[in-house]
């Protein structure tokens, strides 16, 4: 959120009338103003693709570097299509494996992360006890644990799930805990003043207030979990998208590497976007912020 957006959320006056805020400007905005962000963004991407295509094509004649160094966007797109149509590729099996690992690890991390985060936020002593472990493991790149997990769980899905689980777990714990901790003191005082029992305070004041934080944790967890899948499979695996990229790489099939990377990035963007939508839905009570 930018300063401007925060500024817009703060009411300017305290009049008696209801103030559903609307965006204002001194002069009448030009019609294309609404689409400015989309136009400039798309333009930048198109420009980037054009330059990329130009450099890749020029390289094919000028031979500054071996052609497999830099496939052109069209080659990448072609490879992308082939990934899904070539019957020898059997990409669906790899997607299934990676998808299963991702889902298991991510859902597991959500359940455990929310439970621990809520516990640590609500019970200070529980937090004191777990803080050293959370800080230690959060600061450690979880990738260094992959060799250990392979020893413990083998190179099949179990070791991948463990990496994904640990990767997604910490942003969820930390955000959930922050959300529970962040409860407005004024609201707690009101609840106490009316003699609300602890369970009611938790259910109706603390938890709803923590929802935006929890959803942010879940969204950040997606990125960590995706990294976990790919990296764990890159190290050692029989199937999966990471394994696929590794195979393409060692056989110098760069267009396919590019295609697979774009596919993974796309998955991340879509999942994050979905969770962002859910987050926005849960914040309908906030004054409208345009992104």
């Amino acid at each position: 959120m930018t300063i401007k957006e925060i500024d817009r959320m703060i009411p300017a006056t305290r009049g008696e009338a209801s103030r559903r805020r609307e965006r204002r400007s001194v002069v009448k905005p030009k019609r294309w103003k609404r689409y400015e962000a989309a136009i400039i963004g798309t333009g930048a991407v198109v420009l980037f693709l054009a330059v990329w295509q130009g450099v890749a094509t020029a390289n094919q004649t000028a031979k500054w570097m071996p052609p497999f160094f830099l496939p052109s966007p069209t080659e990448t797109a072609e490879a992308f299509g082939k990934l899904f149509t070539d019957p020898r590729q059997n990409i669906w099996a790899d997607l299934g494996t990676s998808g299963f690992e991702f889902a298991t690890g991510y859902i597991g991390a959500s359940i455990v992360g929310l439970a621990l985060g809520i516990g640590m936020g609500w019970y200070t002593r529980f937090q004191y006890a777990l803080d050293p472990f959370v800080n230690f493991l959060y600061a450690t790149p979880r990738i260094v644990l992959v060799p250990l997990f392979i020893i413990w769980f083998g190179i099949d899905w179990q070791s991948k799930v463990a990496v994904i689980f640990l990767g997604a777990l910490f942003p969820m714990i930390i955000n959930t805990m922050a959300g529970v901790r962040n409860t407005d003191g004024a609201l707690l005082r009101v609840a106490r003043s009316f003699g609300a029992p602890e369970t009611l305070v938790f259910q109706r004041v603390v938890l709803p207030g923590a929802v935006p934080f929890i959803l942010t944790g879940l969204r950040l967890g997606v990125g960590h979990a995706l990294t976990g899948v790919v990296v764990a499979e890159l190290v050692a695996a029989r199937h999966g998208v990471g394994k696929l990229i590794s195979d393409f790489g060692v056989t110098f099939q760069t267009p396919k590497v590019f295609a697979a990377v774009i596919f993974i990035a796309g998955t991340g963007v879509v999942l994050t976007w979905l969770l962002q939508r859910i987050e926005n839905r849960f914040q309908s009570w906030r004054p409208q912020i345009r992104s």
Binding site: P11, T13, R14, G15, E16, A17, S18, R19, R20, D184, A186, L187, R189, V190, A191, R192, S193, F194, G195, A196, P197, L200, R204, V205, P208, G209, W285, R286, P287
Partner: protein
Amino acid sequence: MRRPAKLVATGVVVEYWLARSESIFTAVDGVDLDVGDGEFVAIVGPSGCGKTTFLNAVDGLIPIAGGSLTLDGNELTGPGRDRAMVFQQPGLLPWRTVLGNVLFGVEAQGTMTKAEALARAKQQIEIVGLTGFEDAYPLELSGGMQQRVNLARALLTDPEMLLLDEPFAALDAQTREMMQLELLRIWNRSRKTALFITHDIKEAIYLADRVIVFTKRPGRVKCEIQVELARPRDLRVKRDSKFLAYEDQIWDSIQEEIVKPERLLAGMPA
């Protein structure tokens, strides 16, 4: 005419433990006062005099270190259904609508069936003048409207005594005057025993049957002024000569308190 006492405070002391200097800080030091049944009492005093602390003690939010507090003869030891507070900060749940927030007080107390609470809440919303805004969210409301919700939430619990902690302090001058008028209109319906904290002398005289002036920290009762202005009062009362005389009297009394530290300093060797 003295009404039977509802709230009785005798020698109430409230202390805070200051963690940094590891010392005890006395905020309220021996407050004696009583509030009669159906009486509207306002406490004024210089800022930081412990008047809000005293009110929090009456509400049971903070424990007292000495003395006693009774309501209808029952010792007050914690929050209870017999009191409801209207806070300075509205303290509304931002994810709940006006209706949901008005219901929160009775919901927390768990004393009313849902259907009854809903019916009464709608009535209460009408009384505080928020009809048509039942489904609005707090962030869509102005400060004055948020305080109406705050008031409705407290009134819905139908307490024996209403506690108001500078509820209009954060509002602009015009809205504040309107809200004072509104509060009196609403209060007139039930004539509930009320204890109102403010630093605004005019507000205290306008609203109350009796104004109690606190000394500067640690807070004690300095003096009491019986306000003999006929009810119902409209805003013109504020220009009445009697009103102005009360104002002068209270202002002089508070001024003595504010000037104190300078006298102290003047008496000290340079």
